[in-house]
Symmetry: C2
Subunit: 179 residues, 2 copies
């Protein structure tokens, strides 16, 4: 659950694909949101063969992401804008991984929203400094799952999808309030 | 000119698209190679509107790259693997820009080859430490152009395409020598 239903009660279902970008493992999570209620649709990871070079890995994950998009036909895509730290090689990989998700969505004209790790933590666990385990547990609770989603990459993808629901809900309430 | 013709004389024309990746300006250059002879086909730059956010810019350059691919139908794509330096923000942008070229090629199953700046300089100007102006002049001479190709991003794209021709030519000669 993420906020209250619209006053009109006529809001349609929105399908959100959350992506945790990586160039070896790409987490994905699919949710449906209707009037603030969240329903889990699917989650998992795409893994690139480790024997492949970087070009082959990008192509592999790109095709996998396009398959997930074709299978679930999301209305929006939400990605995490990770903290790049101080390692240039890590930043290079993050840039490539983000582009996979952004460009796979571009093929189907799906809008993309990016959130920082702090935004995701704030929206999912109400605290920007929450740890991995706490986020996983909050994802489990918010989606009514029997056990925490695994692996971590899939849990992170679900968390960014939940974050997008909350952010767009708050934005809609603000727009309504201004009218 | 890049090496001698094959002994068989039956080598076909290869069309090479060189890309100089950037998230604001993307240089491209198209060459045809037949028996070691290079012919200039086209060159130019794709520019992303500076008012756009990074997601919009990536999508814009991705669509532009796909249009160049559709127009010129290259057999291979050659990109520069730039020196990332020590700035993480620059590395992030380079990663995104490379992915645009790699994934646009993936849509059409076009093989991609990456070359370091030192490789490009070595092959185009026979010296790994050559400067920008020297590379531009060598591109002009190798392609028989009346004036140096501009802007720099387009010249760099032509240089990486020339580099690919030389590298694949040398690889073919090595294979032939081993038989």
């Amino acid at each position: 659950m993420c906020g209250d239903p619209d006053a009109s009660g006529r809001r349609e279902v929105t399908r959100i694909l959350g992506i945790d970008p990586g160039t070896r493992v790409m987490g994905y999570g699919v949710l449906e949101e209707r009037n603030g209620d969240l329903t889990l649709v699917d989650y998992g990871v795409l893994t690139a063969p480790s024997r492949d070079d970087v070009i082959q890995r990008l192509r592999h994950l790109y095709r996998g992401t396009m398959e997930v998009i074709a299978r679930h036909r999301p209305d929006v895509l939400a990605i995490e804008e990770p903290f790049v730290g101080t390692y240039v090689q890590a930043a290079l990989a993050i840039g490539r991984a983000q582009a996979i998700a952004i460009l796979a969505a571009a093929n189907e004209n799906i809008p993309v929203f990016a959130y920082t790790p702090a935004q995701v933590k704030q929206r999912v666990a109400n605290y920007g400094g929450s740890g991995k385990a706490q986020i996983q547990e909050m994802v489990r609770l918010q989606l009514g799952m029997a056990s925490v989603p695994e692996p971590n990459d899939a849990a992170d993808a679900l968390a960014v999808a939940i974050c997008h629901c909350c952010e767009s809900r708050l934005a809609a309430l603000l727009r309504q309030g201004r009218k």
